[in-house]
């Protein structure tokens, strides 16, 4: 039981992060109709920024805020400057530009902050003693903190989507950009906002995720995270924020349980599992659990 609970807690923490990033991917997908390949690298860049500030003895809370704001700016500017002029041309061109951004951000991290792996200080008490006992299992405060913060972010997003005028405008734009523009919505502003919020969520996820494992802040940290988040977003349905969050949580738990109870998979095949999951979802139910089926008018 204790072993199971330990794993479950870890799984929920990972799952919460996947859920946040999947939500970010869904927001971009709803705005622009593409997957933002640079999502993970944007998060990595802002995480490095936050880490850089912590080494200057800035409080971690402040670093988180700076990262979120920087993420917002990065996302909004990328949309306006890189994506919008090119997305009319073709999906392929958009994807290639995003791939270029991916490459630039990753390389910039290495040039600014060096290649070695770093440990990121946590927002929450993060020593070996800072846990509460649940049925013999250790539930660390760091885990609880991640859960609560991600829950707060997700809750805020849903309140924004469903309870505000701005959210209504965002949903209208996602649904039909031209009609939204005709109804007087400033579509360009909404798109920038969508990308900005998305990157800000990614930034928060990065700052929360990195301290969970020591020495994990490195140039390759976000590839697997992006793959997992993409798998979750696909599984939940690319245009369904609720589906993405649920699928992210499930995927996080499934990943930890699989490597704990199926020894053949061990600790090494995790990206391969995500790969198989993606292919399986696309083959069996391409619209995902809660997504809407793509209907094309000919």
């Amino acid at each position: 039981m204790q072993f199971f609970l330990d794993r479950l807690f870890d799984g929920i923490s990972n799952g919460a992060i996947y859920a946040a990033l999947a939500l970010a991917l869904v927001m971009v997908y709803r705005a622009t109709g593409t997957i933002n390949f640079a999502q993970g690298e944007m998060a990595l860049f802002t995480t490095y920024l936050a880490w850089g500030l912590t080494t200057k003895h800035v409080p971690v809370v402040l670093c988180l805020l700076v990262a979120a704001v920087a993420g917002f700016a990065l996302g909004a500017v990328s949309e306006r400057v890189l994506v919008r002029p090119i997305e009319k041309r073709s999906l392929l061109a958009t994807l290639i530009v995003l791939l270029g951004l991916f490459s630039v951000l990753n390389a910039a991290d290495g040039l600014i902050w060096g290649k070695g792996n770093q440990s990121m200080p946590s927002l929450f008490p993060n020593t070996l003693q800072s846990y509460v006992s649940v049925l013999g299992a250790r539930l660390y405060w760091a885990n609880i903190g991640v859960w609560l913060l991600v829950a707060a972010v997700v809750g805020l997003m849903f309140a924004l989507f469903n309870g505000t005028r701005l959210g209504l405008q965002m949903r209208a734009t996602a649904n039909n950009r031209e009609s939204a523009a005709l109804a007087g919505i400033g579509v360009g502003r909404i798109l920038m906002l969508g990308w900005g919020i998305s990157a800000a969520i990614g930034a928060i996820a990065g700052v929360l995720f990195t301290p969970l494992t020591p020495d994990s802040l490195g140039l390759g940290e976000m590839f697997p995270l992006l793959i997992y988040a993409s798998a979750a977003a696909l599984f939940g349905g690319l245009d369904s924020p609720g589906g993405a969050v649920l699928a992210g949580l499930l995927l996080g738990i499934a990943e930890v349980m699989l490597s704990a109870y199926v020894p053949a998979i061990g600790g090494q095949l995790q990206e391969a599992i995500a790969f198989v999951a993606i292919v399986a979802v696309l083959l069996l139910r391409p619209q995902g659990l809660f997504g809407t089926r793509e209907v094309e008018r000919v």
Binding site: I35, G100, F102, N106, G110, P224, L226, E271, L283, P286
Partner: protein
């Protein structure tokens, strides 16, 4: 149209054939001239030509059929490891391993292309991204077979030029260079033939107007899957020669996502959907970082690639080869043959000749380069 300058040459006329022959002779002379360089340069050139071959494979899927692949590093690696394992553990003749490697990569390509049939575009890109990330991990996992993180080493003596070539051990880089150059030539001819055929027309129609293509009778599922398989096989075979040349393989060093991005960058620099673009692109992505590495160490080449990718997509999406073609059209223009061909009634049937779908398709193919 000014009467003087765009010289008009009819397609398949004697003048056109002459120009083509001249171009091929020029390339052959360049290849022979390059082979006289020292071993170090020859080794560099070998890798650059292999990149060019891999990019030519990628071009079939991404350029002509519009399926972005961020996972071609996995095909390159799969080919390389197939050769490495068969030679090191089973003592195969290195050149014979190209056959099982091509088959394996083709099959993998079909599998990866499978999900793209249901829905298109980003999903395939996502699958290939996952493949590219998962490949080094799979190599580490099956370390019994692949050597894992330690790497896979093949003895140099198993990779020496065979006797019939008459190349001595000291000059073995000549052999690797000619292997790479020969493979590239074969692949380029294959790609040029394929993309100018009816199948090539189907590929481009699939890329540009999927619905219209299907309405014209193109089997989208079949086209996409087979092209992706073929694309993977070509890139995989380039990986085989890479293994023969290098002799020691490490997935974490050679076959990561960075390689995929390098290949895509090369494709965009050289010119998407052009026959010779991959050659320019392969040379560029190999030698540009090599020269700039002296300026600034480390991540510089990745940064440069990223910037080049973005800037090119904005200012010159047709790439260098596209630019060359566009400029050369001002001087020389190849007129297509009139479509009607008396004596071959079958060609006049449902063949999409003349006005029909060909007007939909962008005429992005260079017809006026040899």
């Amino acid at each position: 149209m000014t009467p003087a300058l765009p010289l008009l040459v009819r397609e398949r006329s004697a003048a056109h054939r002459g120009l083509q022959t001249a171009g091929i002779v020029l390339l052959a002379v360049l290849a022979v001239y390059a082979s006289t360089m020292n071993s170090f340069r020859l080794g560099q050139l070998t890798v650059a030509l292999l990149y060019a071959t891999a990019i030519a494979g990628l071009n079939l899927a991404t350029g002509y059929t519009g399926q972005l692949s961020i996972g071609h590093s996995a095909f390159f690696g799969l080919g390389a490891y197939t050769t490495g394992i068969l030679v090191a553990s089973h003592n195969w003749n290195p050149l014979v391993t190209l056959i099982p490697a091509a088959v394996l990569c083709f099959a993998t390509g079909l599998l990866v292309g499978l999900p793209s049939l249901r829905i298109r575009g980003i999903n395939l890109a996502l699958v290939t991204l996952a493949l590219g990330v998962a490949f080094p991990e799979l190599i580490d996992r099956f370390s019994g077979l692949t050597g894992g993180q330690i790497g896979l080493n093949v003895s140099v003596f198993q990779l020496l030029p065979p006797h019939w070539t008459g190349i001595s051990i000291a000059n073995r880089f000549q052999y690797y260079y000619w292997l790479a150059a020969g493979l590239l030539a074969i692949v380029l001819v294959l790609c040029a033939t394929l993309t100018r055929s009816r199948a090539g027309l189907a590929m481009r129609a699939t890329r540009d107007r999927e619905t219209a293509a299907a309405a014209m009778g193109v089997n989208l599922a079949w086209t996409k899957m087979v092209v992706f398989g073929l694309s993977g096989a070509i890139t995989g075979v380039a990986g085989c020669i890479f293994a023969i040349y290098l002799g020691s393989l490490s997935a974490d060093a050679s076959f990561t996502l960075t390689l995929s991005i390098t290949l895509i960058t090369g494709l965009v620099i050289g010119g998407v959907s052009t026959t010779l673009g991959p050659v320019i692109g392969g040379l560029a992505v190999y030698f540009v970082p090599y020269w700039t590495e002296n300026v600034r160490q480390g991540e510089a080449s990745e940064l440069i690639f990223g910037v080049i990718l973005i800037v090119l997509m904005f200012v010159m999406p047709e790439g260098l080869m596209g630019l060359i073609i566009r400029l050369s059209r001002r001087i020389l223009r190849i007129e297509p043959q009139p479509p009607a061909r008396p004596g071959r009634p079958d060609a006049a049937g449902p063949a999409p000749s003349g006005a029909g779908p060909t007007t939909v398709i962008h005429h992005d193919e260079e017809r006026n380069t040899a």
